[in-house]
């Protein structure tokens, strides 16, 4: 994908990362945690222009859970409250066992998409989410069995190598869909030249999604739109609307990026169009 794809005016898929697995209501009261709250947030995000919702599961006190049953409750609420939005489960889980990491894939029906972290990521000062190649392969295998489209989460340039390694080890359904992630720590440094470099390094024919953490969310999704990619926004990645002003909802962040896409001449994809683009 490239600037030519932007000029062609192809639709842009907006993913709303509603909750995440790190922060909770201690960070912002607007972050949805319960199934009911997540379902409502998904419906509002879809109304604002999101065609995909990226979902993590939480217990009633906001703490993480990987239980299939909790993902099922959340999916049921999303389907009850939203119209046609594509559900994408996270398979991330710092510190969780490999078995736990598979549990979000086992709802009925399976999610249409699920994330697949392409390698290690440091957390805090003494912790690393390992994401071994063995785990990547086993998660991909179960996704194939259950008809789930993997969203390859590429935290840095080394993970681009890991993406090519996965393509050598496994047959991935086309198009390969990778999220380029920019921010602090283990992530790719958020500089425009690194963004250009990353999209140049993508496998041929791949579709890319653009994710910037914190204050990098807005400029990087704008670059994603301009270079023919897709975009992810939401309270998982950024809790602020402007400097010092909390975003009041996921939908507020989706509305802004949908408005920018429209101003820049790219149609915002409906869930149906997103399914066609991603070959779901």
């Amino acid at each position: 994908m490239s600037y030519e794809n932007y000029l062609a005016g192809e639709p842009v898929i907006i993913t709303a990362a509603l909750t995440g697995g790190v922060q909770g209501k201690e960070a912002t009261p607007h972050l949805p945690e319960t199934p009911e709250e997540i379902g409502k947030a998904a419906a509002e995000a879809e109304e604002a222009g999101a065609s995909v919702v990226h979902v993590h599961a939480r217990k009633d006190n906001g703490e993480r859970t990987f239980a299939t049953e909790r993902f099922q409750e959340i999916d049921d609420e999303i389907r009850r409250q939203a119209d046609d939005v594509i559900i994408q489960h996270s398979t991330g889980g710092t510190g969780a066992s490999d078995e736990d990491r598979h549990l979000p894939l086992r709802t009925d029906p399976a999610p249409e998409m699920a994330s697949l972290d392409m390698g290690p990521m440091n957390r805090y000062d003494h912790l690393t989410s390992e994401n071994t190649r063995g785990l990547v392969d086993s998660l991909h295998e179960e996704m194939v069995e259950r008809g789930i489209k993997p969203e390859l989460e590429i935290f840095n340039d080394g993970h681009m190598n890991e993406t090519y390694g996965l393509l050598e080890r496994r047959d991935l359904a086309e198009p390969v869909y990778g999220t380029l992630i920019f921010g602090p720590g283990t992530l790719t440094p958020p500089k425009p030249r690194n963004f250009i470099n990353a999209i140049d390094n993508l496998p041929e024919g791949a579709q890319f999604n653009t994710l910037g953490f914190g204050r990098h969310q807005l400029p990087f999704v704008t670059m994603g739109i301009l270079f023919g990619g897709h975009v992810r926004v939401g309270l998982e990645d950024n809790i602020y609307y402007e400097r010092g002003e909390l975003a009041t909802s996921n939908a507020q962040l989706v509305e802004r990026v949908a408005r920018i896409a429209d101003e820049l001449g790219r149609e915002v994809a409906t869930p149906s169009q997103a399914r066609d683009i991603l070959n779901l």
Partner: protein, 82 residues
Amino acid sequence: MTCPFLEYRSEANNRQFDEPRAYCGAAEQFVQPMRADICNNRYDLAHDEHCEIYLEHADEVSAGNENGNETENTGQSAGDGA
């Protein structure tokens, strides 16, 4: 054995929650849900290995207190699997 600094509170620092949430007595603030799993030694996580806040304050913990703080908690499970 959970972190001796872990408490579950519904209210602190002018914040109120319907459900009691993990609060770090060393940092004197509510903690992120991911960090709460470290406090509770859930999954493959351990507060005395993975938490920089505990490691910085470890010398404040008496041997007796390090045996667990279940009496300070409010019924939250420390052994939550998925």
